[in-house]
């Protein structure tokens, strides 16, 4: 029987939750890297026991951790003296650092702060990508041992990007499974960018995104506060987006977008996910507003569309329906590949919820973790 491994990053460490294929009884191990912020953990699709973690701290900076045994033991790749290491923590922008737009309209030099997202390659177990704050994408070709920036991303009008309230970070990296040379990234607050040559060159793909107040120019190529994008592997040209406000869809790899918020109670939110077996089934968690980061009416509801957007249904069974004022952050929702599809999400209140029936019903599989920053799932 298959098993499930859930990789949970929190404000104060990482936790690994395990269950068998029934997904009813869960064990929790951790905290790993206790006291550190773990922005993201993710396993290689080619070698599921190889995991990567972004361990970060305002005091001690950025550390990349790697496990080759499914999370039982960890070490910084290349961290031992005989490996000549220390490079796995080194994220240096290529060439001239350059500047980006600051809140007051001035230009400000790029400054590395942390890794938000780690994306192992679909085609090579030693290749992975890192999305960073300040926004850039780095590539490692040696399993995380060293990193080189792909500077073409910041060349795509980087001087016009500016931070959102949470910083200016590459928080989403997607690789097209049909055309592995094609990569998408999403940046707050810059937008979506696509590369068709393995990250060498990039172009903004934001036509159709509208932010009337913050970005009055309807043709603005960059400056959009995209919170998350997702795709289904069988139909990678279709992208779904949770924007600062608005849920959006593209049917042409980002060339144009249309709004599919439909009848959602709020179209503000952070995560968005696509069902593992139904490319038109999409999940979001509506949040009241950009100033009130909690569910509408204090009721934690996942919304599911079975029609690729526009029409949404509330999923509430097993979720708190009163006095609930947690948030669900952009990296904190994931789907497994079992049938029925499992859906998982973590909250800023430290709960992790799981559904083993495509979202029809939910149960809390952890209740008292630190604030959850990210959730990834593996079928092993």
């Amino acid at each position: 029987m298959s098993g499930i491994r859930l990789l949970v990053g929190t404000r104060k460490g990482a936790f690994i939750l395990r269950a068998d294929g029934l997904r009813k009884r869960w064990s929790v191990s951790g905290p790993h890297f206790a006291g550190w912020e773990i922005y993201h953990l993710k396993g290689s699709p080619l070698d599921p026991d190889r995991l990567y973690a972004s361990q970060t701290s305002n005091w001690f900076g950025q550390v990349i951790q790697r496990s080759d045994d499914g999370g039982r033991s960890w070490s910084p790749p290349g961290g031992r003296p005989e490996q000549g290491g220390g490079e796995s923590n080194r994220f240096v922008y290529a060439g001239e650092v350059g500047t980006h737009l600051w809140y007051d309209g001035t230009q400000r030099p790029w400054e590395f702060k942390r890794v938000w997202h780690l994306e192992p390659s679909l085609t090579d177990p030693d290749v992975l990508y890192a999305g960073t704050e300040d926004a850039a994408i780095f590539r490692s070709g040696d399993g995380g041992g060293s990193w080189q920036e792909l500077p073409g991303l910041r060349a795509a009008k980087g001087h016009l990007w500016q931070p959102g309230a949470g910083g200016m970070a590459v928080h989403t990296i997607l690789q097209d499974p049909r055309h592995p040379e094609r990569l998408f990234v999403a940046i707050s607050a810059a937008g979506v960018f696509r590369s068709d040559d393995a990250g060498t060159t990039w172009k903004p793909v934001n036509r159709g995104l509208v932010s009337r107040v913050e970005l009055p120019d309807p043709l603005a190529e960059v400056g959009h506060c995209v919170h998350r994008i997702a795709l289904h592997p069988s139909r990678p040209e279709v992208l779904f987006m949770q924007k600062h406000w608005d849920v959006m869809r593209s049917d042409n790899a980002g060339e144009s977008w249309r709004e599919v918020s439909g009848d959602l109670p709020s179209d503000f939110g952070f995560p968005i996910a696509v069902h593992a077996h139904e490319p038109d089934t999409v999940y979001v968690v509506p949040i009241k507003s950009d100033s009130e980061h909690y569910p509408v009416d204090g009721r934690l509801r996942v919304y599911r569309s079975r029609s690729g957007g526009d029409e949404w249904e509330a999923l509430t069974r097993g979720l708190p329906q009163r006095n609930c004022y947690v948030n669900v952050l952009r990296e904190a929702m994931a789907v497994d590949s079992l049938d029925p599809c499992g859906i998982y999400f973590g909250t800023t209140g430290g709960q992790v919820y799981a559904s083993a029936d495509g979202g029809d019903s939910w149960s809390a599989i952890a209740r008292h973790l630190p604030a959850v920053l990210s959730v990834e799932v593996q079928v092993i």
Partner: protein, 98 residues
Amino acid sequence: MIRVVLPYPLRELAGIGGELMITPEGRATLRSVLDAIETSYPMLRGTIRDHVTCKRRPLVRFFACGEDLSLQSSDDLLPGPVRDGQEPLLIIGAIAGG
């Protein structure tokens, strides 16, 4: 031999149980001590000082003999009792965060 006490998160990261005993190359300065630490424990590169500029990270501080050494030149000699191994060099995470 220089005694060095690292903050708990960095001891955990490097797998160090207690004090470090460091023999720096040349003069016993902050720079030479940190160079020696990073040579023995490369996973600590970038956690105490910047990878490229070698500037102290803003929320890391250096203390010894009741003195804050954080703002002194990294090429200044460490205090005599530290050089003699009588007192440790303390590397700490600054009190910050409310």
